[in-house]
């Protein structure tokens, strides 16, 4: 549900970025979303359509690039996707969370010039 707030931020960032750029229309905005970021793709899309009405992003495609969470095994050095718990598939010790899976940023904005 916090997608409402973050979509507002997203529109603001895009407006800022495009302030000094000349273009006809925004065609696409690419957003990277980690599995653990707490952002739900469907909600993001839902609010994107509503909140971009009347802004420079109206009609643009929202492209979401999903990143899987990866855990790191400190014992054997393996990176692995979590299953039901945090056990390393290789050596069965406990894995740690990493930055993989927490991403949430705008990667790029595509415009027609």
């Amino acid at each position: 549900m916090h997608e409402y707030f973050v979509t507002q931020q997203l529109v603001k960032i895009a407006e800022d970025e495009l302030k000094d750029v000349s273009f006809k229309r925004v065609t696409r905005i690419k957003v990277v979303v980690g599995e653990l970021s707490g952002i739900i793709d469907e909600s993001l899309k839902f609010y994107f359509d509503i909140l971009t009405k009347g802004t420079i992003l109206e009609g643009a495609e929202l492209k979401i690039i999903t990143k899987k969470a990866l855990l790191y095994c400190q014992k054997c050095g393996e990176y692995f996707e979590r299953t039901k718990d945090f056990t390393c598939p290789k050596c069965l010790s406990l894995g740690k969370l990493t930055e993989h899976g927490k991403e949430f940023y705008i990667e790029s904005i595509e415009v027609d010039d």
Binding site: M1, L10, F23, L36, S37, D85, K96, Y105
Partner: protein, 220 residues
Amino acid sequence: MEIKVIKNILERNQNAADNIRRLADENKWYIMNVMGSPGAGKTSFIKCMIENLKDTFNIAVIEGDVASTIDAEQIASYGVKVLQINTGGACHLVADSIAEAIDTLNLLPKTVIFVENIGNLICPSSFDLGETLRVVVSSAAEGDDKPYKYPIMFEKADIVVLSKIDIVDAIGFDMQRYKKGLEAIKDKDLKLFEVSFRTKEGVEGLIDYFYTLLDPYFKK
């Protein structure tokens, strides 16, 4: 044409949070962001802390709630400053509304500020409120799998208060599994307090801990 951006979408909130942290530092405010599921015991935790700290420290409470004022009314009865923020449907508090609340409350320097966040284990974890300490209240009633399901909430916690431990045996809560999950998440030493606000088991240790945090903070 493609314009590379790579910009954190939560940047605006982060700026507001950094600002609060600066103000808190100047005024010696100790801000605790209290998070957890609905019914986990966030309000019980805050009430218990007020009862035991109010004779020693200035206390204020910022109550986040989707719509009601039930918790705020209960807390006001202790005679501490309390302000209710109704988010009107939003699932978390943002730093901007904390800044506004602090401004409205007109707080004395050297005040402990409890912020009761909206009850859920996902959304509040992404929003820095400029807090000094992040507290996650997690109840035994919710089950022992919570650290595995909501790792980010626990990872960002400075302390975890496991409440309702009086029912652990009755519901077959697997303490070892719960702790193993926390251990995997927390890099630093894990600060876990096992308490029951109903029977008061473990509460004393929690209060002692807060005295050891707050005393030196305010004396500095």
